[in-house]
Amino acid sequence: MNALKRLSGFIWIILGLVAIYLMFKQAGAEIAEARAGIRPLLDTQMFWYVIIPIFTPIMLGLCLFGWFAWKGEYDVIARDSEHLT
């Protein structure tokens, strides 16, 4: 099980990076459409200006989670404060 936990850590790193890439790609495409008059500009900008700054750090957090998993940090879950701080 620990080997699976470690290996899948790689998937979470990739997932975080892919999510960031797709978010920026979609935002760029939609804002370009909005500037061309295909979509409402204000709505489109507002949506992405809210979503990107919020979700980018969270997805980086998912990458960090994957990194910890990859390094075996979740092989054993600490049960007392001595091991936590």
Binding site: M1, L4, K5, S8, W12, L15, P40, L42, D43, M46, F47, V50, I51, I54, F55, I58, G61, L62, L64, F65, F68, A69, E73, Y74, I77, A78, R79, D80, S81, E82, H83, L84, T85
Partner: protein
């Protein structure tokens, strides 16, 4: 007021019930304050945002709603730190006062028609304060109750705190319905919507009075006496790898999925029934009230059960059920309120047109089409067109309002389908306070558990109606002007799906009996 309790004193059933009541009443009122805004998003949009485009106005209101959620993690940091340094009791007293004050103030802000752009700016500012206060409240209340609860029953006792979010929503719906009934629809839309906000000040006063009488958490008092209080909870929580990895585990393997299941069951369901199905305002609120009332006891059931079989099994079970059944549930709800699938009763259906000429010579043509169906449901479409006297000016866009009145059987079926969704909420949410409390040590518990809770619940969950509604609007094309009504479900399904897999792999199912470390 400054008395401190020992664990032994608070372990008595009477003492414990006092602790639970004091914490729960305050938290319930905070949730009430927070939700009345969301429950009246459409009315608030008309009052505070430019109304040229109704979707823009609605999204603007939802963005404000989202703003309330996005700042919650910051509230978690600010008040979590305070709670770990000065104590739980005074911190969640402060959050209560901030929440009450900002809610009361929302009820007093003049509309866009009176003060222009200052109206939405004021609302946004007050909404931010609400979000900050809520970010500090929940962690304090959950920690406070958990630190009083006896071993082996922590899931059950903290589940009382878990009921408050749903009951706060129920209370907000109830107060809105009562005010609307008492004042009438027109007066409510014009000024009566302010009443539920203003009422909050009395509720907060009662709650502050109750909380002032409570003692500090026994575990916090103990570490304070021993001089073990953290000097820098933020650093200890997030700069130390050993604790940071637990924060990330809590967020991605538990709270993220819980958040989307929670907000889909209660809020996206409401948005879907009201906006996509156009079900009448009061019917929507009544069916939500019934569903919430019936499902709420299950928070305690699943909280208590998690003490026996483990938190993980129940939380992940709820996520799996949600992922696999959302599509059939929403399809069933759609078919109940879909006029295209119903048989019309010709003698009870018809179209009526009324024409009125204004003093300026403009003509308003209102066409009302009523379609009654054999199952007892009714669908009404009102189209309002303005023909300007000055034909050189462009005519304003026609306004169309759709309202669907469910039949009795349709009402109860949709109520049952919402009840099922809230049952999933009770599974994922009931045990989560105990789960988070057990993951972190006393000295930094408030800070460490508050941040993942509010990112998962506030951001992933709170943005669910916003993102799902946008996905639905984006699916409307010239070829398919109705759009795909189910596309919004992909967001909660994907997030809960990833969380389920992470939880399955990484979460331990064994409860931590000792939280005094």
């Amino acid at each position: 007021m400054t008395n401190t309790a020992t664990p032994q004193q608070e372990a008595t059933p009477k003492g414990l019930m006092k602790v639970i009541t004091a914490s729960s009443v305050g938290t319930l009122i905070e949730w009430y304050d927070f939700y009345i805004y969301g429950a009246m998003a459409v009315i608030i949009a008309k009052q505070f945002f430019p109304q040229d485009n109704p979707t823009a106005a609605f999204l603007a209101a939802l963005a404000t709603f989202a703003a309330g959620f996005v700042v919650r993690p910051f509230g978690a940091l600010v008040f979590g730190r305070l709670g770990d340094i000065i104590g739980r009791k005074y911190t969640f007293l402060l959050t209560l006062l901030l929440m009450g004050g900002s809610t009361f103030a929302i009820g007093l802000v003049p509309g866009y028609a009176s003060i222009g752009i200052w109206a939405p700016i004021s609302i946004l500012g007050l909404r931010f304060i609400q979000g900050l206060a809520l970010g500090g409240e929940y962690g304090g209340a959950a920690t406070y109750v958990a630190e009083h609860a006896p071993k082996g029953r922590r899931g059950y006792f903290t589940a009382y705190i878990q009921t408050t979010a749903t009951l706060g929503f129920f209370l907000s719906l109830g107060v809105i319905l009562l005010t609307r009934k008492a004042l009438g629809v027109e007066a409510f839309s014009e000024w009566g919507w302010r009443v539920p906000f203003i009422v909050s000040v009395f509720l907060i006063a009662i709650s502050v009075y109750i909380r002032l009488k409570m003692a500090e958490s026994p575990l916090f008092s103990k570490i304070k006496k021993e001089g073990k209080v953290s000097k820098n909870p933020l650093k200890e929580s997030f700069a130390h790898k050993s604790n940071l990895k637990m924060v990330l585990l809590a967020l991605f393997a538990a709270v993220m999925g819980q958040g989307v299941v929670w907000y889909t069951g209660q809020f996206y369901a409401q948005t879907f029934i009201e906006r996509t199905l156009s079900v009448e305002f009061e019917q929507v609120r009544y069916l939500l009230c019934f569903a919430i009332l019936l499902a709420t006891p299950f928070f305690l059931v699943f909280g208590a059960w998690s003490d026996k079989i483990g938190r993980k099994t129940i939380m992940l079970g709820g996520m799996l059920l949600a992922i696999t059944t959302y599509f059939p549930i929403y399809k069933a709800m759609y078919s109940i309120a879909d006029p295209a699938t119903k048989t019309e009763v010709a003698e009870r259906s018809g179209t009526h047109t009324a024409i009125a000429v204004t003093a300026t010579g403009d003509t308003t043509r209102t066409t009302t089409t009523v379609r009654s169906f054999t199952d007892g449901s009714t669908f009404k479409v009102v189209k309002k067109e303005v023909l300007l006297a000055d034909s050189s000016k462009p005519a304003p866009k026609a306004e169309t309002t759709k309202t669907f009145w469910l039949s009795s059987s349709g009402f109860w079926t949709i109520m049952f389908l919402v009840f099922i969704q809230i049952l999933y909420v009770t599974m994922v949410y009931g045990p989560i306070a105990a789960f988070l409390v057990e993951l972190f040590p006393t000295r930094i518990r408030y800070t460490s558990m508050s941040l993942p809770y509010h990112i998962g619940n506030g951001i992933f969950g709170g943005l669910t109606p916003f993102i799902a509604t946008r996905l639905f609007d984006a699916s409307k094309t010239e070829a398919n002007p109705v759009g795909d009504p189910y596309i919004g479900l992909w967001y909660p399904i994907l997030i809960a799906g990833v969380c389920f897999i992470l939880g399955l792999f990484y979460l331990p199912n064994k409860n931590d009996e000792d939280v005094s470390d």
